[in-house]
Symmetry: C2
Subunit: 179 residues, 2 copies
DNA sequence: AACTTTATTAAAAATTTATTTAACACTTTT
DNA sequence: AAAAGTGTTAAATAAATTTTTAATAAAGTT
């Protein structure tokens, strides 16, 4: 192998290493992280190529690639004349970012909002209940208000998701600032 | 225990459950997630209170609380006249959000930017190297451009962090929309 | 329709991570 | 200065997750 090829591979590996390392933020396994980072420098890959490249089993590649598809970091590609499935890494990090965080934040907001609504109803019942002691009522009021306050955050999170999905956020924060 | 108290606890537990459940997004252990969610309804707690409340060991509480401190979701509080350390949950989710994501994104941007800069230098060397074959040069150019493109994203991430840190983002996305 | 090839599922093994028990170190109090 | 209380570190255990081997299913080819 030539010196240039070696240097090329070395350079790629530097980037592959750090991409994989920072991907813990996306809650994927090391295998999936390595896979994504490897695919980042490939046009597309089959499961067998992945296995060869990473020296891991095929089912491991299969599950990793599926997880990466779930968080939209890998897409299935169609290759005519090939029976093997081919996959390509999403190389546009903006799209990965949007898909991942929107999905996560939406889930966080939705789940918590629902629980909060239910809990607040309970607190109101307790407050209205004549059998509740003044202390209990006071406590219920405190919690009710605390939850009411937190709803501001979840609504904001939903707004953030919406502004990312619609692309409106890039009017405020341009992808390539003019100056 | 009165019916109201029971209902109160039940309502709290609903919220505690979902907060803990959605906290996987923050990469904390279930123990830490449960702890935070529990503390969310308490003014402040000592390690022993945590242990009693969650039925877990003290070292587990100690490490969980430390991890939560690292991501700024729990703060140490001073309680005069008590030898025990006391801790309080950050109840303002905006602050948690800001601290957590800014820290994470900054790390992601910094690490990848550094690796990219280094790799790009290598690619330039390869391109300039007279011993490189045309194919190798073409490949190096492709990768160089791909990395250059990705820098747009990391710069944007840094801008996002900055606008969150400075609070400027709330001019664009208000915490409490007027309408 | 049988045979290949490929991908996925299931069960087992291995690794990693989380948690606990036990020991240690540090503070404060007496 | 000794003793008690509190928190942290270390080693061991337990639990969960990841990965692999093996088996099955699905799709395509001859």
């Amino acid at each position: 192998m030539s010196e240039s090829t070696e240097r090329l591979e070395e350079a790629k590996d530097k980037v592959i290493g750090t991409i994989a390392e920072t991907m813990d933020l996306y809650g994927v396994t090391p295998a999936a992280a390595n896979l994504y980072a490897t695919m980042y420098f490939k046009d597309q890959m089959t499961l067998d190529e992945m296995r060869t490249e990473l020296g891991m089993s095929k089912p491991s590649m299969s599950t990793s690639v599926r997880r990466l598809q779930e968080i939209k970091m890998v897409k299935k590609t169609f290759t005519r004349g090939s029976r093997k499935h081919t996959y390509a890494a999403e190389k546009n990090f903006f799209r990965s970012f949007m898909a991942f965080y929107c999905q996560m934040w939406e889930r966080e907001a939705k789940m918590n909002m629902e629980a909060i609504e239910e809990a607040q109803e309970d607190f109101i019942e307790v407050i209205k209940d004549s059998k509740s002691t003044p202390e209990i009522v006071a406590e219920a009021k405190t919690y009710y208000d605390q939850l009411e306050e937190s709803k501001t955050y979840y609504r904001w999170l939903e707004d953030l998701v919406e502004s990312i999905r619609s692309g409106k956020i890039f009017e405020f924060l341009p992808k390539d600032p003019k100056n």
